[in-house]
């Protein structure tokens, strides 16, 4: 068995999640925001895998769930990029600051 304890995986996932969150909330470029969201999703994936291995009844369900997540994330990234491109066609910018039409 590996000697790396669960808490380390969780710590890694936490750091990754925080980096992703920070990026998602602060970056101006919409592409980077999307990438940051991917980071957060991956942090979740790490958690799923880690718990799947270290839980009281280890099994494969967590890891299979991860595969689902990756698939969904890919789809989501595709949709997100599509929206971004559609937006880009209307307003030639990828800066998140200028995308404030929700106010209206």
């Amino acid at each position: 068995m590996s000697s790396v304890p669960l808490s380390m995986y969780l710590m890694l996932a936490l750091i990754l999640f925080c980096i992703g969150l920070f990026g998602a909330l602060t970056k101006k470029n919409a592409v980077i925001v999307l990438i940051s969201i991917e980071l957060m999703l991956n942090a979740v994936n790490i958690n799923l895998v880690a718990f799947s291995k270290y839980s009281l009844h280890p099994g494969l369900s967590g890891q299979i769930f991860t595969l689902f997540t990756i698939a969904v994330a890919a789809a989501e990234a595709a949709v997100g990029l599509a929206i971004l491109i559609a937006l880009y066609r209307n307003r030639p910018t990828v800066s998140v600051d200028e995308m404030d039409t929700m106010k209206h």
Partner: protein, 621 residues
């Protein structure tokens, strides 16, 4: 007959309804309808009186309203006092109806006038027949309404409008006193009925303070209606109405209502010495106060108005001095000679088209009938021997003297002097000497106007003989059958009538010297005491004082209230609105449309929730 007494007020009411409903179509018929109605009432009243004279009383009631276990009734009652009043009211009203036919000739709203007269008469008759205080109050207010409508009959005149308003409001102030008095009596005795209340008073079921309080409150109502101090100011202003109306108001209805109320609630007053003293004092003060104002008025009707106030003061003085019969007696005689004086004054005004006595003069030869009749009235009111006023005034003075109110007795004597002086000042200025202004086409009035005056003139002479120390005290014996225990008849010392006569003759003599003979200068008073005459001429500045205090005060309170409403109440509401708007605006700022800001807020919120849960151990624990 007695059980049909309820029909008496209904005839005038019917006349009111018919004339109001068909006011466009009646035209000249209006007078006939009015006369027929009051004539029928008069006949019935006479029959009722005749039957009552034999000692029959009658009372009938129906349930009007049930509240819980209390039953409030309405009905009518015939007793000696109100049988007499019925006759006086219907008689004077009938004569006034007749007189108005001539006086109001050519007025385009004649049917409205007769309708109002009918309503007024109805209200007064209803008041007189009432067996309980609630019903009295109801008709009491209706009487006020009738006088209000009639005073404001010339609605387009600003003075008439002001006078009508004033009459209603001033009497309303008194009415509120009566209102409270009635309610308090109800809670003390459990009834509005005169009988029940008197029984409770007699059995001492009510505390002495309560008796005094309620009696005084009832008296406040009488003060308002009968124009006593300090609520007298409406009565002279009420002269804005047509002259026949003044006769009706001053002789038979409205102002008589106050005296009648005190008389019919007399057992209540009798139970409280304080109340009696107050009534006597207010009456005495009013008598001399109003007489003093009457000395200097220039308007023929206003002089008569102040004399009414003064004479009503006399009646109150009599009632307050336990002179029940004396008060009623004077009410009766006064009804006749004051109605006569007003109708005669109306006849004069009708002839010369002015009310200012400075512009009259020398009318004795031109108004062959009005002049002597006015003289009869003036002599009667001055207490000239053997005329009706002489007997009733003498009775009052005797009662006051017997009651031991010597101060008031002296006041009453002075007032008597003033009365005869100003009445004859009026007489001489109007009828003697030479015309002081151009008088064209002055002629005597027609028979519809002179006939009522003649009837009243006869009554003003003979009415006194119903109660004299020499020929018999019919009135006293008659009233003694009523609910009021008449202790004894005051036959004061012989010097009282002599003194009263002397005083009144002195007044007439003085007036003669000043205004007919002109051997005394007319304006010695205003020259020697300018301030005194100024005060009297301006009616003691009572109106001005009320204007400065109550009216200004109410207006100020009203304006202050408006300001409070606009700035404080509305301000608070506006403040709340703007506070909400401010909150909304600051909330609006957070909504900048950027997803990242929303996300940040969400995350921070989540963090706060976690922190709270971590620190407190959770809400649900």
């Amino acid at each position: 007959m007695l059980q049909n007494a309820w029909l008496i007020p209904l005839f005038p009411l019917l006349s009111f309804i018919v004339l109001t409903a068909f006011r466009r179509h009646t035209g000249r018929l209006a007078a006939v309808i009015g006369l027929a109605a009051t004539g029928a009432s008069l006949l019935m009243a006479l029959m009722v009186f005749a039957e009552q004279w034999q000692g029959n009383s009658f009372k009938a009631e129906i349930t009007w309203l049930e509240i819980g276990d209390k039953i409030i009734t309405m009905g009518y009652e015939v007793n000696p006092l109100n049988a007499l009043m019925l006759v006086i009211v219907t008689l004077v009203s009938f004569l006034v109806h007749l007189y108005s036919k001539g006086y109001m000739e050519g007025d385009s709203r004649i049917s409205v006038f007769y309708a109002y007269l009918g309503l007024f008469t109805f209200a007064m008759l209803g008041l007189v027949l009432s067996p309980n205080l609630l019903q009295v109050y109801i008709f009491w207010e209706l009487v006020g309404l009738g006088s209000f409508l009639l005073i404001g009959y010339y609605y387009f005149k600003p003075e008439a409008k002001a006078a009508a308003k004033k009459a209603f409001i001033m009497t309303r102030i008194g009415d509120v006193g009566l209102f409270i008095g009635i309610i308090l009596l109800f809670w003390q005795t459990g009834s509005f009925e005169y009988d029940e209340i008197f029984k409770a008073v007699a059995n001492q079921e009510i505390s002495q303070t309560m008796i005094t309080l309620t009696a005084l409150l009832v008296f406040v109502g009488a003060i308002g209606k009968s124009g006593q101090l300090p609520l007298h100011t409406w009565l002279p202003d009420a002269m804005e109405g047509p002259t026949p109306v003044s006769a009706l108001i001053h002789a038979a209805t409205m102002v008589a209502a106050g005296v009648y109320l005190v008389a019919s609630a007399f057992p209540l007053f009798e139970a409280s010495q304080t109340a009696l003293t107050t009534v006597a004092a207010v009456g005495g003060a009013t008598a001399i106060f109003a007489a003093s104002i009457g000395l200097m008025q220039k308007d023929i009707k206003r002089v008569l108005a102040y004399s009414t106030v003064s004479q009503l003061g006399y009646m109150m003085l009599a009632l307050g001095s336990a002179g029940y019969t004396a008060g009623i007696f004077h009410l009766t005689t006064h009804a006749f000679f004051k109605a006569l004086l007003f109708l005669a004054a109306g006849s004069v005004i009708h002839a010369v088209h002015t009310q200012n006595i400075e512009e009259m003069g020398g009318l004795w030869k031109k108004l062959r009938l009005t002049g002597p009749l006015f003289l009869i009235g003036a002599l009667a009111i001055s207490g000239f021997p053997l005329l009706s006023g002489f007997f009733s005034k003498d009775e009052i003075l005797a009662a006051v003297y017997a009651d031991g109110r010597y101060g008031l007795f002296v006041l009453a004597l002075i007032a008597a002097f003033m009365t005869s002086f100003y009445m004859f000042r009026l007489f001489f200025m109007v009828f003697s000497g030479q015309p002081r202004s151009k008088q064209d086409g002055v002629h005597e009035s027609g028979w519809t106007m002179t006939l009522p005056m003649i009837v009243l003139g006869v009554l003003a002479v003979v009415a006194g003989y119903v109660n004299t120390p020499w020929f018999g005290t019919f009135l006293n014996d008659y009233l003694a059958q009523g609910p009021v225990e008449l202790a004894h008849e005051h036959h004061g010392p012989l010097w009282i009538p002599i003194a009263a006569t002397t005083v009144s003759l002195l007044g007439i003599l003085l007036a003669y010297l000043m205004y007919a003979k002109k051997s005394l200068s007319r304006d010695w008073l205003s020259r020697s005491f300018p301030s005194v005459s100024d005060i009297i001429y301006n009616k003691w500045f009572v109106d001005e004082a009320y204007e400065a205090t109550f009216i200004k005060g109410t207006k100020a309170a009203s304006c202050g209230g408006t300001l409070i409403d606009r700035y404080i109440v509305e301000g608070a509401a506006e403040g709340t609105v703007s506070a909400v708007q401010l909150l909304a605006k600051s909330g609006n700022k957070v909504q900048d449309g950027k997803v990242q800001t929303y996300g940040t807020v969400v995350i921070l919120g989540l963090a706060v929730i976690f922190a709270v849960v971590a620190l407190t151990g959770g809400y649900f624990s």
